[in-house]
C-alpha cells in the first residue's frame, strides 16, 4: 500500500520586546537565574498582569504579513497544568479567540515549485520558566527568568506532505519573522522552536490518520529527520497490523529516533477558561493601519524585484534575500557600483560571504562595509585593478589594512595598462619562447593561452589581460 504523510507545525516565536508580556521585567537572554523575575512572573498572590503594547503590535505585524484576519476583539485564556516552572499553575494564552486568524504563506520548495500553506491561527501567550537537572543531587532547579516572555504560537493547517515541505515551511516562517523584526530567530537560545503533528493515511483516503506530536525540534535538520523517522515508524506499525496511538513523542537527536513521553498523556486536560484578570484586546482600524505602514518589503517581493530590476540569477537572488541585512548590503554595494549589479552580486555572494563564513562574522559586523566594497568594484570597472588581484585587495581590506585605493597603492597592485610597457613584456616572452612562436604560426592557436600566462606571470598578474591578448595576436600574426 502507498501512504500519504500529513504534517502540521506549531512554531513558537519569541517576540522581540524588551520587557515581558505582562510585567516590566527584562527579557534579555543569559542573565543570572531569577534576577529577571518579578512578583508577576513569580505568580505571587494579589498581583495583576498588564499587557505589553509591543507584544500586541508584533503579533499584528505577523498577521498582516501572512494576509490573516486580525481579530478586532481577542481574549486571553488560562491553560491550566501543574509544573514547577509554571508558578501560577496556569499559562496565560489565547484559546477561542486568538489575535491572528486564517492566514497563509507561500513556500518555495527546493525543486523551485511553489506551495501555499494555510496558517490556522497565531496567538499570544507567555513562556514558562526553565527546569535544570544537572548537579542538583536528584533535585531540580527552577529559573524563572524566561517565565512571562512573550511568545507568538503560529499554528499551520495540516498542509505539508513531506519532511522537506515541513522544513521549507519552517525556514520560510523563520525568514519572515526576522524580516519583520518581530523575533531574533535564535534557535540555540530557544527564541524559535517547533513541534510537529505527524500522521499517515492510505493514499487517496480523505480522513486523517491518528497523529503523534513531536517535540524538541530545535533545528531545521531535526524537523526533517524527526519526521522522516516518525513516518517510517507509523507506516511499519500500520503495515504490521498495529495502530498509531495519539501521544506526545520526544525527538532524540543523538539516537535519531522519537520516543513516547508517557507522563504527558494524562495531563492533556488543560481546562481552559477566559482569564478574568485580563480584558479582551480590542483593536481599532487605526492601530492596524499604523502597523501595516511599518511592514517592510517581504522576502518574496524582494526576490521578484531583485530578479526584475537587477537582472540577477535566481540562485544568487535566493542567497541575497535569505536575510534582510544581506539584501540591504547588496543593494548598498550595487548603489555604489551603479551600472553593474551582477558584479556586485558576484562579490557579495562570493568573496564577502566566503569571508563572513570563514571567520564566523555576522553581516551586520562585516569588516568591509558596503561602500568600501563598492569602491573596490569601481576600481575593477575602471581598469585600475584586475578582477584577480582585486581579491588580494579585498583580503587586505578584510584584514583592516585600509581602503581599496590605499591598498592598491601600497601593495603596487595597480594594473598595467600602458601599451608600451605591455609590449615590452610581450616582446621578451616571445623572444624567450621561439619554439612556441613557431607552433602558433604553424596553426596551433592554443599556444596563445600559454603566452598570455607567461606575460601575466612576468607582470606579476598586473598586465591588463585584454590588452595582453590584443598585443599578442598583433605581434604573432
Amino acid at each position: 500500500m502507498s501512504w500519504e504523510t500529513v504534517i502540521g507545525l506549531e512554531i513558537h516565536a519569541q517576540l522581540a520586546t524588551r520587557s515581558k508580556i505582562f510585567s516590566g521585567s527584562s527579557t534579555a537572554y543569559g542573565a543570572e537565574p531569577n534576577t529577571q523575575a518579578n512578583l508577576v512572573d513569580l505568580g505571587y498572590p494579589g498581583v495583576l498582569p498588564v499587557l505589553n503594547t509591543d507584544a500586541v503590535r508584533l503579533a499584528v505585524k505577523f498577521g498582516l504579513a501572512i494576509g490573516a484576519q486580525i481579530a478586532p476583539r481577542s481574549v486571553f485564556a488560562r491553560k491550566n497544568y501543574f509544573y514547577p516552572d509554571l508558578p501560577k499553575g496556569y499559562q496565560i494564552s489565547q484559546y477561542e479567540l486568538p489575535i491572528v486568524q486564517a492566514g497563509s504563506l507561500q513556500i518555495r520548495l527546493p525543486d523551485g515549485s511553489l506551495k501555499t500553506v494555510g496558517i490556522t491561527r497565531a496567538h499570544l501567550e507567555e513562556d514558562a520558566g526553565k527546569s535544570l537537572h544537572e548537579n542538583l543531587q536528584g533535585a531540580s532547579g527552577i529559573d524563572l527568568n524566561r517565565a512571562g516572555t512573550p511568545l507568538l504560537e503560529i499554528v499551520s493547517e495540516p498542509d505539508m506532505r513531506s519532511p522537506v515541505e515541513a522544513a521549507t515551511y519552517m525556514r520560510t516562517i523563520h525568514q519572515l519573522v526576522r524580516y519583520l523584526g518581530i523575533c531574533d530567530g535564535n534557535m540555540q537560545e530557544g527564541s524559535f522552536r517547533c513541534d510537529a503533528n505527524v500522521s499517515v493515511r492510505p493514499q487517496g483516503q480523505q480522513e486523517l490518520g491518528t497523529r503523534a506530536e513531536l517535540k524538541n525540534l530545535n533545528s531545521f535538520r531535526f524537523v526533517e529527520k524527526a519526521i522522516e523517522f516518525e513516518v517510517e515508524r507509523q507506516i511499519d506499525l500500520l503495515e504490521a497490523g498495529g495502530e498509531v496511538v495519539q501521544e506526545t513523542r520526544l525527538y532524540d537527536a543523538d539516537r535519531d529516533e522519537t520516543r513516547s513521553m508517557r507522563s504527558k498523556e494524562e495531563a492533556n486536560d488543560y481546562r481552559y477558561f477566559p482569564d478574568p484578570d485580563l480584558l479582551p484586546i480590542v483593536l481599532d482600524e487605526a492601530f492596524i493601519a499604523e502597523v501595516r505602514e511599518e511592514l517592510p518589503e517581504l522576502p518574496e517581493a524582494k526576490r521578484a524585484r531583485f530578479i526584475a530590476d537587477y537582472g540577477l540569477r535566481e540562485d544568487d537572488v535566493d542567497i541575497l534575500v535569505a536575510s534582510r541585512p544581506l539584501a540591504d548590503y547588496f543593494e548598498a554595494v550595487a548603489g555604489t557600483v551603479k551600472d553593474d549589479p551582477k558584479l556586485a552580486a558576484n562579490w557579495v555572494v562570493g568573496e564577502l560571504s566566503g569571508a563572513l563564513n570563514r571567520d564566523g562574522v555576522d553581516i551586520d559586523a562585516s569588516r568591509v562595509p558596503p561602500h568600501a566594497l563598492g569602491e573596490l568594484l569601481l576600481r575593477i570597472k575602471d581598469g585600475t585593478v584586475s578582477g584577480k588581484l582585486a581579491k588580494e585587495v579585498f583580503e587586505a581590506m578584510w584584514a583592516g589594512e585600509g581602503g581599496a585605493d590605499e591598498i592598491i597603492d601600497s601593495k603596487g597592485l595597480k594594473q598595467i595598462t600602458d601599451t608600451g610597457a605591455i609590449e615590452k613584456i610581450v616582446d621578451e616572452v616571445l623572444a624567450a619562447n621561439a619554439a612556441q612562436v613557431q607552433q602558433y604560426r604553424d596553426g596551433n592557436q592554443k599556444v596563445l593561452g600559454f603566452f598570455v600566462g607567461q606575460v601575466m606571470k612576468a607582470s606579476q598578474g598586473k598586465a591588463n589581460p585584454r590588452q595582453v591578448n590584443e598585443i599578442l595576436r598583433k605581434k604573432l600574426s
Binding site: S23, G24, N34, V50, L51, S140, I142, L279, V282
Partner: protein, 95 residues
Amino acid sequence: MSLSRQDVEHIAHLARLKVSDDELDEYVDKLSRIIDLVAQLSSVNTDGVTPMAHPLDIGQRLRPDEVTESDQRELYQENAPDVVHGLYRVPKVIE
C-alpha cells in the same frame, strides 16, 4: 451526583492534590452540589446572546514596552523553602 469519584480523583491529580478516601466522598458530594447549582443557568435560553467573559465593556489597557523592574531576587527568595545557586530547588521533575 453530577461528579463521579473518578472525576474528583482526576481533578485532584491534575492539581497535584492528595485527597484521602474519606475526603473524596465529601468532595464528590459538595462539588456536585456546586455544579448542580450553577447548572441551573443552562435552563435559560441564550440564543443570540454574545458570550460575556468579562463584566466590563472596555478593552484591555496596554503598557509601553519598558523594563521597569530591578533585580530583587534575594528579597523574593526569602519566601522560598529551598534555594540553591539562585535557583528554586524542587523535587526532581523528570523521570
